[in-house]
């Protein structure tokens, strides 16, 4: 293509149109380079060629034509850079796609175990009480009769002993001192006496731990289970504090909408004695299979510490009052997770344990 001095602006304009159109159809770096050589190439490129004949243009038009030629040059160069980036990007995407992975393949497995559901419940319950200023402590599972019964106001030959069928330790030399026989604790309550004998009020403790009963096993009874005991002793502790504390516990564990019910019950180491129930979450209190149609689910025994219990550990029952409570960890877990058979807990079937 040859340029003439006449109408150079129109020719440049035509060049611009053709070049722009051609540029947009370049798809590879090779195309783009060919385009650049054709239009912008030093010496042989069309635009430099056109610029070369500028001196042949009459003086009065030369300046305007030269300005126009520069404008076309700037435009084509900028378009070239843009197209260069576009082609680069497309190339890089094409290249990447060649190394693409099957994102539907499974990921690298991470091993993660779980806590036993009993541990989880114990933690939840204890931390609910810790939030109210309790400390978690533990005690021995093998106990003296004195601590398991005597110091809890359950004398030998009292019919209340029927409430705790006991597994006894066989002792070759049974020195019958006042500690009595050795046994597997039937409840965590011995820690009430142990705690009070160790420290002076104020006391606020929760005691999780294993307990054992001489009892046949069925869907709701285990001979081996975990209890969580609580004890508060100080001046000025009242039955209304018992209600408030246990109510707050129930809200933390079962949700703030739960209603609670306190009814009278008998445990020899408390007076008055209490059984606490929450309204059934299966039916909201209307009556269903979970609550045995009563609308209520009993979750723990409690009461004001019996004055005799305080006396036996050397506290002045006229000065100090307190309350105690005890609940079964498995029962809470069963209610929370809908487990219908307590025997799953210590069967240690991983298919059960992995669910919690």
């Amino acid at each position: 293509m040859e340029f003439t001095p006449e109408n150079l602006i129109e020719q440049l304009n035509g060049l611009k149109e053709t070049a722009t159109a051609e540029l947009s159809s370049t798809a590879t770096t090779t195309d783009l380079e060919a385009w650049r050589v054709t239009y912008l190439g030093r010496g042989e490129g069309l635009l430099p060629k056109a610029i070369k004949i500028l001196p042949l243009i009459p003086h009065e038009d030369r300046k305007a034509t030269g300005r126009f030629a520069n404008k076309v040059k700037t435009l084509l160069e900028s378009k070239y850079s843009q197209q260069f980036v576009v082609i680069q990007n497309e190339n890089s995407i094409k290249n990447n796609l060649q190394d693409s992975i099957d994102i539907s393949l499974p990921g690298r497995p991470i091993r993660k175990g779980r806590l036993h559901p009993t541990t989880q419940i114990i933690r939840e319950v204890c931390s609910a009480f810790e939030s109210m200023g309790f400390q978690t402590v533990e005690g021995p599972e093998v106990e003296w009769e004195l601590f398991n019964f005597g110091l809890l106001n359950i004398p030998k030959d009292h019919p209340a002993r029927d409430m705790w069928n006991t597994i006894w330790i066989d002792r070759m030399t049974d020195n019958l001192d006042n500690r009595g026989g050795m046994l597997l604790r039937t409840h965590t309550s011995p820690m009430q006496a142990r705690t009070m004998l160790k420290v002076q009020p104020p006391i606020r403790v929760v005691v999780p731990g294993r307990c054992y009963r001489y009892e046949a096993t069925d869907a709701t009874h285990e001979w081996h289970f975990f209890q969580i005991e609580g004890l508060v002793v100080d001046e000025g502790i009242t039955f209304s504090d018992l209600k408030g504390t246990l109510y707050e516990f129930a809200r933390q564990i079962f949700g703030e909408k739960r209603k609670v019910r306190f009814r009278c019950d008998y445990f020899p180491f408390v007076e008055p004695g209490v059984e606490m129930a929450i309204d059934c979450f299966g039916c909201d209190g209307r009556g269903c299979r979970i609550c045995k149609q009563t609308g209520w689910i009993e979750i723990m025994g409690a009461g004001m510490v019996h004055p005799k219990v305080l006396e036996m550990v050397g506290y002045d029952p006229n000065r100090y009052t307190g309350f105690a409570f005890g609940l079964g960890a498995e029962r809470i877990a069963m209610l929370k997770y809908g487990i219908d058979d307590i025997r799953f807990f210590y069967d240690n079937d991983l298919r059960f344990l992995k669910q919690f």
Binding site: G113, T118, Q135, W144, D170, M182, W223, F239, G244, Y266
Partner: protein, 801 residues
């Protein structure tokens, strides 16, 4: 305790429905575990009167009856042989749901045409109403049964099953429960009749009672009745006994049982003519004394069991069962009634030793008050005079009349407030107690002197009375408050913190927590002894539930291997288990040491079967990695020492020390041990952390801040060839000793064709760093040379390239 409402309605006016009553009793501490309703399908049944009985026109065996129901008269076809005009009968109109005696199922009665005659209902038999087994004819009601009354009202029954707490003997009596109901319905009870005529000679001159064991027999009362006619008791009494859960026998025995249900006082009737010398001796049993009870069983007694005896022989086992030798029979003419107060604990111990519990002993065990016997005695005497005829002797025997006085307890408003956290007007407290039968006198506005009624054995201190008040006003009316006293100071419990921390560590490392029974059987004990060698003699249970739960474990490896064995077939891929449990080390004459131990196993492939992960089995180093991570996180420097441990493979076992204290061990489990525990997955790595030991090194530890280095460090790799017998740890320690070395990491272990036989190549990346300047490569070269020289001198190690 079975509580038939029709019976108790005689003693107290119940103003609420049975289900509400059950709720209220439960709230008051007498839990109603069941409500039994008799006559549930009886909506359309009424008391009727048979007006006429005519032959059925088309059937010889059937009759055509007209029945009056008060407001209407209906014609019905009846096949019963005993139907007669004038009878009061139970009539079922169509719609009633009764037992079809042919199908054995409940069916709704519909109008029928029987052999061409319309029959508008049915005259019922006992069986159809499900109140008895008799279907030989219709049930004939008493002649005063009100015509038209609903059968439910006339014959139906609601029985509440009450779970009575161990301290409430009064809960085992209708009157005791009547007092509870009176408090619920805010009313007073109606006492049974205790009046009778005494026309016989003086009781005290006809029988003598000697109490030889006053510590076990607090009070003995007796009455005599002559010329009684022993026979069946009236139907109403039999029915009540059956509803109350007892079997009718004869009028005399039935009355003693009736009064026991009514008052809670066990009674016994002796055939007085079989008592030698008209003398009763209450004494301890002789050693090996033989005694045959009313149940026909011969038992061997021993002191301090208590017997009722005459001068020659025991005639009763006090508070438990009467003797066969003095039993009331149809020919009995004179009876002696006994109502006594026997010591609760002694009765219970005797019952436990003889494995014999009766309705009587159940009540004595709970500690009946000595005020009760003469009242029960009078009631039974009155009923015998009324129902079995006879002449009652004058007066009763009472060995301890003084014991009848009722104790009283002072109740202060202050204490009430201190315990309940609510202020109650003293007048309200007084009337609340009165509804339960507690009389009291008031002094001022703050104090009550409360008399404890004779039937309440559970009230001995002020707090007991406060519970009574709280029960009557209702626990729901007591305020709900938060503890207002300051929170006690608690020292941080490092032990629990570490224990719970370890649980989290193992869970994060992929281990599943398990909890196993700490009791083992002979079988496991023998296995563990065989493999673990001499272990302490474990504590043994004297009454194990099962043979496999006979001993308290002294080690944890058996427990976790059993769990592994039971799961290995169920679970694919790796099995990582841990447990924090106790071992129980016996101590002479003391409670055992209960030591928390963390035990863990690793078995199977390193990861679940996966396209991306190799399926290599886990080995020693998988376990060791867990331990290292934990100790590092706890800021403890642990040392691994070659060791031998029972059950673990020698050469693949290490003991872990911190500050020379043995805190953990780890190793591969011996295949013989695995086989003994039926573990098929191999290898199995076992590790154990002794929490007691771990804690012992803790108290002095606080995290100390160390400033990050200010000058850059520089790394060098050292590849060394050294005899295979030289432990990595020795080389590592030597490198670490060089002053400029801050970190040494083993990154390669190689033995094979590239190195000489008996040698291995170890690759270390060593980080050099100084606190005072940036190290030059000259500095590092010098340090490296120094290390290499020492390594060569000490271990003959050479640089590989």
């Amino acid at each position: 305790m079975r509580l038939p409402l029709s019976w108790i309605r005689e003693m107290v006016n119940i103003t609420i429905s049975p289900s509400e009553l059950a709720d209220r009793l439960t709230m008051a501490g007498l839990e109603v575990s069941a409500i039994e309703t008799k006559g549930e399908g009886w909506q359309n049944c009424q008391v009727g009167c048979v007006l006429s009985v005519d032959p059925h026109p088309n059937a010889d065996r059937l009759r055509l009856c007209t029945v009056d129901l008060g407001d209407e008269q209906l014609q019905v076809v009846c096949g019963a042989p005993n139907v007669e005009a004038g009878q009061r009968i139970a009539f079922a109109k169509s719609g009633a749901e009764l037992l079809n005696t042919r199908s054995g199922k409940k069916e709704i009665l519909r109008p029928a045409v029987i052999r061409g005659v319309a029959s508008n209902g049915m005259i019922c038999s006992e069986l159809e109403l499900e109140i008895g087994d008799d279907h030989s004819g219709i049930l004939v009601l008493p002649h005063d049964a009100p015509i038209g009354m609903s059968l439910q009202e006339f014959l139906g029954e609601v029985v509440l099953e009450v779970d009575v707490p161990a301290n409430r003997p009064d809960g085992l009596s209708l009157l005791g429960l009547a007092h509870e109901i009176a408090a619920i319905c805010n009313t007073r009870i109606i006492q049974p009749n205790l009046e009778y005529e005494e026309l016989g000679p003086l009781t005290s001159e006809s029988v003598s009672v000697i109490v030889d064991a006053p510590e076990s027999c607090l009070r003995y009362t007796a009455s005599l009745i002559s010329k009684v006619s022993v026979g069946p008791s009236p139907k109403w009494m039999q029915n009540r006994l059956i509803e109350g859960g007892m079997r009718p026998i004869n009028n005399v025995v039935d009355i003693t049982n009736y009064v026991m249900l009514e008052y809670g006082q066990p009674l016994h009737a002796f055939d007085f003519d079989k008592i030698e010398d008209q003398t009763i001796i209450v004494r301890q049993a002789n050693p090996r004394e033989h005694f045959v009870g009313l149940d026909g069983v011969e038992r061997t007694l021993k002191p301090p069991m208590l017997v009722i005896s005459d001068p020659k022989k025991a005639i009763g086992l006090a508070g438990i069962i009467g003797g066969a030798n003095s039993e009331v029979s149809p020919t009995t003419k004179t009876i002696m009634l006994e109502a006594a107060s026997f010591h609760a604990f002694n009765t219970r111990r005797t019952g436990t030793e003889l494995k014999l519990r009766t309705e009587a002993s159940l009540r004595f065990e709970k500690g009946e008050r000595p005020g009760l016997p003469p009242i029960g005695l009078r009631r039974a005497t009155q009923l015998i005079a009324q129902l079995a005829g006879g002449t009652v002797f004058k007066g009763i025997i009472d060995t301890n009349p003084k014991s009848a006085s009722n104790p009283s307890i002072t109740l202060t408003k202050k204490r009430l407030n201190q315990l309940l956290g609510m202020k109650l007007p003293i007048g309200l407290v007084q009337s609340a107690l009165l509804t339960l039968g507690f009389e009291s006198s008031r002094s001022g506005n703050s104090l009550l002197k409360v008399e404890i009624p004779y039937w309440r054995a559970d009230i001995s201190i002020e707090a007991d009375l406060i519970e009574e008040v709280a029960r009557v006003i209702g626990y729901d009316r007591i305020p709900t408050t938060m503890i207002s006293t300051p929170i006690p100071h608690h020292n941080p419990d490092i032990y629990r913190t570490i224990k719970e921390y370890l649980r989290d560590c193992f869970v994060l490392a992929g281990f599943q927590e398990t909890i196993t029974y700490p009791l083992i059987g002979q079988n496991i004990l023998e296995k563990s002894r065989f493999f673990l060698g001499e272990s302490p003699e474990p504590l043994k249970l004297s009454n194990p539930l099962r043979p496999e739960h006979q001993y308290l474990r002294t080690e944890l490896i058996s427990s976790i291997l059993q769990t592994l064995a039971s799961n290995q077939r169920l679970v694919e891929g790796p099995i990582l288990l841990f447990e924090i449990g106790r071992r129980y080390i016996p101590q002479n004459g003391e409670l055992p040491l209960e030591e928390d131990v963390l035990s863990a196993v690793l078995a199977g492939s390193r990861s679940p079967i996966s396209w991306i992960e190799s399926n290599n089995s886990m080995n020693f180093f998988d376990g060791k990695g867990v331990l290292e991570a934990i100790f590092k996180d706890l800021n403890l420097r642990e040392v691994y020492g070659v060791t031998r441990r029972p059950a673990l493979v020698p050469g693949k076992t290490a003991t872990v020390y911190v500050d020379h204290v043995e805190v953990a061990s780890i190793g591969e489990v011996d295949h013989k041990v695995l086989k003994a525990f039926d573990v098929i997955k191999q290898p199995v790595i076992y590790l154990e952390i002794d929490l007691t030991q771990l804690l012992s090194i803790f108290p002095n530890r606080e995290t100390q801040f160390i400033a990050p280095p200010r000058f850059p460090g520089s790394e060098r790799d050292l590849a060394l060839v050294v005899d295979s017998t030289i432990e990595h740890k020795k080389i590592f320690d030597l490198i670490q000793k060089e002053p400029l070395v801050v970190e040494t990491t083993l990154f390669d272990v190689y033995s094979g064709p590239q190195v000489a036989e008996g040698k291995r190549s170890l690759g270390y990346r060593v980080l050099f760093q100084s606190n005072t300047k940036t190290l030059t490569s000259n500095d590092i070269d010098r340090a490296t040379d120094a290390i290499l020289e020492k390594l060569n001198k000490e271990f003959g190690a050479n640089r590989r390239y």
